[in-house]
Symmetry: C2
Subunit: 227 residues, 2 copies
Amino acid sequence: MTRSAILLLSGGLDSYTAGAIARVDGFRLRALTIRYGQTHVQEIEASRRVARALDVAQHVELTLDLRGIAASALTGATSVPKDRPIDAQDIPVTYVPARNTIFLSLALAWAETLGAHDIFLGVNALDFSGYPDCRPEYVHAFETLARLATKAGVEGTSFQVHTPLISLTKAQIIQRGLALGLDYGLTHSCYDPDPQGRPCGHCDSCLLRAKGFAEAGVADPALALLR
Amino acid sequence: MTRSAILLLSGGLDSYTAGAIARVDGFRLRALTIRYGQTHVQEIEASRRVARALDVAQHVELTLDLRGIAASALTGATSVPKDRPIDAQDIPVTYVPARNTIFLSLALAWAETLGAHDIFLGVNALDFSGYPDCRPEYVHAFETLARLATKAGVEGTSFQVHTPLISLTKAQIIQRGLALGLDYGLTHSCYDPDPQGRPCGHCDSCLLRAKGFAEAGVADPALALLR
């Protein structure tokens, strides 16, 4: 029997790759995308393209406007920083308070409703922006919470948060995805695109993506489309 | 200096009492109410009355329609059961998957944004409906998660989820609130009110409330208003 899993899908290249790995692992996917008030709404469009490419059984877009409670450069509270050192150790202003906890909670609700026990999350803890809710110890703490939070947990089952990218570099993620035949031209990563949706090339997300493609030795198809 | 706290406010008597205890403890409150697709929207109106009575610094109502991902009698997936034994041990169909985890995550986002470290939650684990996400071990797991999830946690601070009612009976909660001068006529508890907003008197929430007032030896002012 095919097992169902929930994929938290942003429309970026990480969640696309995590979803493709879930498919290869034999999971039937349902994708959850949150419209949380992000200024880069282009990722919502990208999530639809990626959901189609992943052939998900269902794609839910949930609206949850965090702008009134969660201040971040990504929710318009301040401007997106440009050309930060890629190895900066501080947590940048693009951090959205409790975002992954909120998203995982929503995925957990859906998983429990469906009788599913698997959630895929495309976090990685190497080429990332230093967000605390991308670390392995955080993910494990969420699994513990999920077991205690739910009816399923009381009944003795548990939930697994799969993070297949967590110890990969961005280049390794891209190489893995290309080996699976993924078209990264479908994805959107930039935090601060121009009105036409073109990536700025200077935010953390653009810089990490560019570094990844450079190290992987391939051109970014999303940039090729712009030429 | 007055410390700020986030109160998860439903409009029922528990969250009102938890908020009043927070005020007595010297916290400045901001209240968060979630419009999650509950069929008993009367509790939203009640939450506004209670927020005023508690003199909160700010009351945010957040819309997050869970109906597409979280099946429950409270989100209309099935009908609200009536006249269940009040000491039934099973988890009833009014359980909303991951609801407290979602709500606490949102409170955590707001707390971190404000620089607050305290969240008040009116759960109780005695006269309750057996929901797993009302138990002390669940609350402690959330505190652990909150520390790992956030920037504040990385910086060495932590979050406390205050559950001042967790080991009280419903009668004790009511007695505590009455001693604090609370007007429970402002609150709404029923899961299945009639179109005029009057409580059904037969759902779990009505039965627990009635038992609480009976054991406390006082009349329920919300019912008195209906006469």
